[in-house]
């Protein structure tokens, strides 16, 4: 399955990319998506995750065509 991964703000800067397109075989969770895309970097504490623009836990499953996003705590307003 194909997963689009997006990174924002300080996380985007620290990993040096804003987007990945992953091809994953079998079932996977949001946490798996991170590990697959960033095998040498642990997910920073407090990182938030979203699938298709809704907040999710790292244990949430992903499916073909999903957009998965990782970003630091939000600071708007």
């Amino acid at each position: 399955m194909s997963i689009k991964v997006r990174y924002f703000a300080s996380l985007k800067e620290s990993i040096g990319r804003s987007e990945d397109i992953l091809g994953l075989a079998g079932m996977a969770t949001v946490g798996d998506v991170w590990r697959y895309a960033n095998p040498n970097k642990a997910l920073p504490d407090n990182t938030l995750a979203a699938v298709n623009m809704d907040y999710v836990e790292l244990s949430s499953p992903v499916k073909d065509g999903d957009e998965v996003a990782f970003f630091p705590p939000v600071t708007g307003g």
Partner: protein, 148 residues
């Protein structure tokens, strides 16, 4: 109900007035309006700040703000609501966020407006990077509880 993301400076008074005029049935029906405006300061955490860049997640921002406003509408009898949020490069004294809520009674206006602001602060995907007078750039790490 209206939710806007602005990449240019906006005038909160103009936004509120044109929104209020655009809602045909509202005249004479609302008794209370509560408005919150967040404005960029020229100092933070002891440093002089000369500018700020606000990044957001286009699409998710609108989706999350829409959910937050819908939650407020479920909890209080809100007649109308407007949320405007700035993105991009911002200078001190420019508005960052505007929340306006129209209700029949004042308690609901205060409650719903505050709910929207607190939820926006914790859930709407925006990120601030400050540019200090010293030319140092720094990301804000987290939002406060509103009193610091």
């Amino acid at each position: 109900m209206d939710i806007k993301i602005c990449s240019e400076a906006f005038d909160p008074w103009q936004e509120i007035q044109s929104h209020q005029h655009s809602v045909a049935d509202i005249a004479g029906k609302f008794g209370a309006t509560n408005i919150f405006i967040g404005t960029m300061r020229d100092f933070n955490e002891g440093d002089d700040v000369k500018g700020m860049t606000l990044e957001h997640y286009p699409g998710m921002t609108e989706k999350q703000l829409g959910k937050i406003v819908a939650e407020a509408l479920q909890q209080w009898p809100v007649i109308d609501a407007l949320v405007v949020h700035r993105v991009g490069d911002i200078l001190p004294n420019e508005p960052i966020v505007l929340v306006a809520v129209w209700t029949s009674h004042r308690g609901d206006a205060f409650d719903a407006s505050r709910y929207i602001m607190e939820a926006l602060k914790s859930r709407a995907p925006f990120w601030k990077k400050e540019l200090l007078e010293s030319e140092v750039e720094r990301w804000l790490v987290k939002n406060t509880d509103g009193y610091l």
